[in-house]
């Protein structure tokens, strides 16, 4: 009886209440009149599937299992017997399922709300905003003391997430390289200066100090050009080992600044 269908579904549940709602749905049961025997049996089937799958079975699932069984057995008791017990609070023929039904309905409200939030999350993705322009040019020179700042860690966290979210909206930076004015020539010179200063070999990745694509590309082209001109030597012992770069002997710096 344990098949893929069950196993996959078990993993897709957000807890025992979610699983129960799914069963109620699947069995087309009236949530106000749950046949406890049937639902318990189905529920236990899933639990067994989860165990066989050795999925990390949250203890809440087991607690719910025993709750279901308890309700089931209470339902089997003849109703009138309860009133004989006198002191029992549940004299007025309370349905043992009431509490469960209440919890299911309450949970279902929020599960539904979560679906709608998901929709809103998706919708929000169709609207693009922009970062504020740099307004500091408009700021007058007033020396605020730190006490006036009035920000806390939540503001900091919020600001960070706002910009993490924004990053997704960034357009390709086609103009970055020209804006930065790093020429290959200049970068070659810089690399040579660094290698000379080291007076020994450097690891390849050390030539890429700035983790930005344009800068890295220029650095890479600069190393290639230096190799071509025999101004540096490159050595690698075997595949994927560190590449070692060294200034060729006798190369002197043309322009040292």
């Amino acid at each position: 009886m344990i098949n893929m269908e069950y196993s996959v579904k078990v993993e897709a549940f957000e807890g025992p209440l979610d699983l129960l709602l799914h069963l109620i749905q699947g069995l087309e049961i009236d949530i106000y009149d749950i046949p406890m025997a049937e639902i318990s049996e189905q529920y236990m089937l899933y639990i067994r599937a989860m165990k066989v799958m050795e999925l990390n079975l949250a203890s809440e699932y087991l607690v719910m299992a025993s709750t279901l069984l308890a309700i089931k057995s209470r339902m089997l008791l003849p109703k009138h017997e309860e009133s004989y017990e006198g002191s029992d609070i549940e004299m007025d023929e309370d349905d043992p399922r009431d509490e469960l039904v209440e919890r299911l309905i309450e949970y279902r409200k929020y599960k539904q709300a979560a679906i709608e939030l998901k929709q809103k999350e998706e919708d929000r993705g169709s609207f693009y905003t922009k970062p504020p322009i740099d307004l500091s040019a408009y700021e007058t020179e007033k020396q605020d003391s730190l006490e006036d700042l009035n920000i806390d860690l939540h503001d900091l966290l919020g600001a960070f997430h706002k910009l993490v979210r924004r990053k997704k909206l960034k357009k390709p930076m086609a103009t970055r390289i020209t804006r930065q004015d790093i020429s290959i020539e200049k970068r070659m010179e810089e690399i040579l200066v660094d290698l000379q200063r080291l007076k020994g070999p450097a690891l390849f990745h050390e030539l890429f100090p700035i983790a930005q694509k344009p800068h890295m590309v220029v650095s890479f082209l600069a190393v290639l050009e230096l190799m071509k001109r025999n101004e540096v030597t490159i050595q690698q012992d075997h595949n994927f080992s560190d590449i070692i770069v060294e200034a060729s002997k006798g190369v002197t710096l043309v322009a040292q600044s």
Binding site: E14, L17, G26, A58, Y110, E121, F127, F160, H161, K168
Partner: protein
């Protein structure tokens, strides 16, 4: 102040403020106008942007502020320029937890777990670190449990003006459309498969 000029000024202010947005209060200050007048004007202005087919942007109300944003129809064009369209969306657990917090705030972890029927510490931690919820106080009595509430980032994240814009909770027990249920399940299954493939 002439309406045209006012419109231009507001556009420049909203443009400058970007996704920080401006409240009607802030606009009223800068424009030296009563706040109610600002609100009335903004309502009209929203419609101006909406109705003008030459405009690619419009005014949105997000987290209690007015912001400029691109119109929905433009998304397809902008997407082409977006660096990585990787959408890291919230998990089901996160969305459920957030829904409970949003409607029931201020609320303790225990109360959330009562409703969801599962442990919820991890989703809470994630939501807090994403800036969507925060501690807004402590419960009285023993333990002084943390009370959680939603943040402005929450409103912004879901495109809401304020909490009153949250979808109405389904109060009565209408049966959920079972097809939708299954759909949702297959969607989440697909998502997890996609995640796997991308690794």
């Amino acid at each position: 102040m002439h309406n045209h000029e006012l419109q231009a000024i507001i556009e420049s202010l909203l443009f400058a403020a970007g996704d920080e947005g401006l409240s009607s209060q802030q606009l009223a200050n800068v424009l030296s106008m009563p706040e109610e007048e600002v609100i009335t004007f903004m309502t009209a202005l929203k419609k101006v942007y909406e109705d003008d087919s030459r405009r690619g942007i419009h005014v949105m109300e997000l987290a209690g502020t007015f912001q400029l944003a691109t119109k929905r129809d433009m998304a397809d064009y902008i997407k082409q320029l977006v660096e990585s369209p990787s959408n890291s969306t919230l998990s089901q657990a996160g969305l459920e937890t957030l829904a409970v917090v949003a409607y029931k705030q201020p609320i303790t972890r225990m109360a959330i777990e009562d409703i969801r029927g599962v442990k919820t510490d991890r989703p809470l931690q994630t939501l807090a670190s994403k800036g969507l919820i925060k501690e807004i106080g402590r419960a009285e009595g023993a333990g002084r449990a943390i009370l959680y509430g939603t943040t402005d980032e929450f409103l912004d994240y879901f495109g809401l003006k304020d909490l009153s814009q949250l979808p109405v909770l389904m109060e009565d027990a209408e049966e959920l459309d079972s097809e939708e249920e299954t759909d949702l399940f297959f969607k989440s299954l697909q998502q997890s498969l996609t995640v796997n493939n991308e690794e």
